[in-house]
Amino acid sequence: MSPPSPVDPQTRREAPRLLFESGSPGRAGFYWPAEEGRGRLQIPAALLRDDIPGFPELGELEVLRHFTRLSQRNFAIESEFYPLGSCTMKYNPKVNEAVARSAGFAQLHPLTPVELVQGAMELLHRLEGMLAEISGMDRVSLQPSAGAQGELTGLMLIRAYLGEKGNPRKKIIVPDTAHGTNPASSTLCGYDVVQISSNAQGVIDSATVERVMNEDVAALMVTNPNTLGLFEKNIQSIAEVVHARGGLVYLDGANLNALMGIAKAGHMGVDVLHMNLHKTFSTPHGGGGPGAGPVAVKAFLQDYLPVPRIVKKDHAYELAEDYPKSIGRVRSFLGNFGVLVRAYTYIVSLGGDGLEEASRMALLNANYIRKKLEKGYQLAYNEPCMHECIFIDRLQHKYGVSTLDIAKRLLDYGFHPPTIYFPLVVSGALMIEPTETETPETLDAFCEAMLAIAREAKDNPELVKTAPHSTPVSRLDEARAARKPVLRWEPAQSKIS
C-alpha cells in the first residue's frame, strides 16, 4: 500500500469506482428489521434463490457520495449551454418539478377507481384540449411514452383508417432529412419506406411528392420546420397532392417549438402529428428519458385512437374503452403521467401568449447565432431559418479539422456541442438550436468560442483535432467498445474465463 498523499486536482476528477468495487460484506444503506413469525411463507424451496451474487454492500453516505461524484462528470442544462439542434434543450422550470412531486400526483395508483382521481383526469382532459388548440388539431391521445412511440401510434391510426376503407396501402414517403425514427416506425407498422430528396433550398417540392405519390402510398411523414431548421413552405400544396391520391399527412412535431402561435399543423393539411413534451413543453430530458409523445388527429381519425380515452360526462370524467375501431393500447396504464403533469404546469404558467413569445424568442436566438457565426463558418443553406440553423465544416476542412473536432473542442470552452452529422444529407453538419431561454450574453459567449475554434483550426489544428483537453476523460475508444462489448461488471474471477 502506498503512503497517503495530498489530493492533486487531477485525482479529484478521477472516476469513482463502480458500485461493485467498494463496500463491505453485510453493509447496507437501508434499515428494516426482520419480521420473524409473521405469516407462513408457502413458497417451495425449489423456487427460491439464496443470494444475489455481486450486489452492492454500501452505506447510505457512500451511495450518495458515489452518485454525487458521478453527477459532477456530466454536462447539463443547468450548468452548461446546450445548443443541440432538434433536441430543444430549454430550461426545465423548477415549479414543474415541485408540482409533479406532490403526493396528489406522485402517489397515485393507476388502478384507483376513476371517481377517486378526478383531479388527475381533469388535468389530462384539459391538457388534451390545450395541445389540440396549440396544434390546431381536433383530438389528442396522451398515451404514447415518447416521440417514437407517438410516430408508431400515428402510423397505426393511419393504417387502421385506410384498412377500414378497404386498403391499408404499402408505403410511407419519408424525406431524406427525416429523423431515423420515421423510417424505423414505418417498418414496425408494416410499411415500406420511399425516400424523397429535398430541393436546393432545403425543402420539399410538391412536384417531388407528386412523382412518387400513388395509390400504394399510405402517408407522407414530414417534419416542419424540417431538420434543416427551414419551414416547409410548400406544405399546403404537398398535402393537397397527398390527399388527392387518398393518402394522409403525418407531421413529426419534434420542432414544434418553432411554431407556437406562428402556424398550426391543423391548418397545413396535417392529419396526424405527435408532439415531444420533453422538447417543446419543457419537461427534463433526464439523460435520455422519460419523455412523452402525445398524438393529435383530425376528427375523422378519432375513433382509431388508443384506449382508454378520457371522456367528460356530466361534470365527471370517465375512462372509456368501448371504441371498437381503436388500435388498442400502446403501453400500460395512461401514459407518462408524471411528465404530463409537468407539461400541463408549463402551459398554464405561460398561457397562450407566453407560448407564442417562447417560439418568437427561439427564432430570434437562432437567427442571431446564424448571423454571428457566418463570419467563421459556412451555412448549409442560405435561407431564413426558424428555431435552428445549420453550418458545415467546409472552411475548416483544408486544415484537416472536421465537425467532430469542432464539437469536441467546444467542450473545452464549456459548451455542449451542437447536434453533429445530422441531418445526413448535409455533410459535416453542425446543427445549432439555442432555444428561447438563453440570454444574448450566453449566445455571444458561445459564438465567440465557435469563432475562436475557427481560428484555432487554422493556426493550431492539432489542438482542435486532439480535443477535448479539459474533460474528465479524453476521446474514448469506441471501436474497442464495439468489437469486444463489455456491457456489465463481472467479478474478476469470471472475467478471466
Binding site: 433536441c87 453533429i420 445530422f422 455533410s427
Partner: protein, 145 residues
C-alpha cells in the same frame, strides 16, 4: 493506396481472387478506409447461395453499416473464421488475412463485369474527386432529438 494486380474489382468496392471456379472475396483498401475502424463483420454461412449484386454480408464501423455485395453468383464454400472475433483484420490486411468468403462460382461470365486493378484505381480516383467536390465525407453520424 494499393490495388493489387491480378485481382478483379467491383463498383461496390469488393475484390475477387479467381482460382479455377473458386472466387475469394473481400473489400478493398479504399472501402476499409472509407469505413474507418471496422468493429463487426456479418458473414453468410457455408452452403448459402449468393447472387451477383445482392448483399451477402455487412461490415460495421462504430457508426455506420455497409452491405457487402456479391461480385459473382455461387455457393459459399468457406468463410473467414478469423473475422468474427477480429474484425480489425480487414483494416490491417484487406487483401490478405482480411478476406471474407470463398464462393464456388456458377457463372464464369460474372467476371466480365468486373474491373482490372488499373480500371478500379481510376474509378476510385474519380469517386474521390466527386467526393471532394461534394465535400462528401461521411465518417460519422450522431443522433438528434
Amino acid at each position: 493506396m494499393e490495388f493489387p494486380e491480378g485481382l478483379k474489382y467491383s463498383k461496390e468496392h469488393e475484390w475477387v481472387l479467381v482460382d479455377g471456379k473458386t472466387a475469394t472475396i473481400g473489400i478493398t483498401e479504399f472501402a476499409q478506409e472509407e469505413l474507418g475502424d471496422i468493429v463487426y463483420v456479418e458473414l453468410p454461412e457455408v452452403g448459402e447461395k449468393v447472387v451477383k449484386d445482392d448483399p451477402f454480408g455487412a461490415v460495421e464501423s462504430v457508426k455506420a453499416v455497409s452491405d457487402v455485395y456479391a461480385p459473382v453468383s455461387g455457393a459459399v464454400v468457406e468463410i473467414n473464421d478469423l473475422l468474427p472475433d477480429n474484425p480489425e483484420t480487414i483494416n490491417d490486411d484487406p487483401y490478405g488475412d482480411g478476406w471474407m468468403v470463398r464462393v464456388e462460382m456458377t457463372d464464369m461470365d460474372d467476371l466480365k463485369d468486373l474491373m482490372s486493378a488499373e480500371e478500379y484505381a481510376e474509378y476510385v480516383e474519380q469517386r474521390k474527386e466527386e467526393a471532394d467536390e461534394d465535400d462528401d465525407e461521411v465518417d460519422d453520424e450522431e443522433e438528434e432529438g
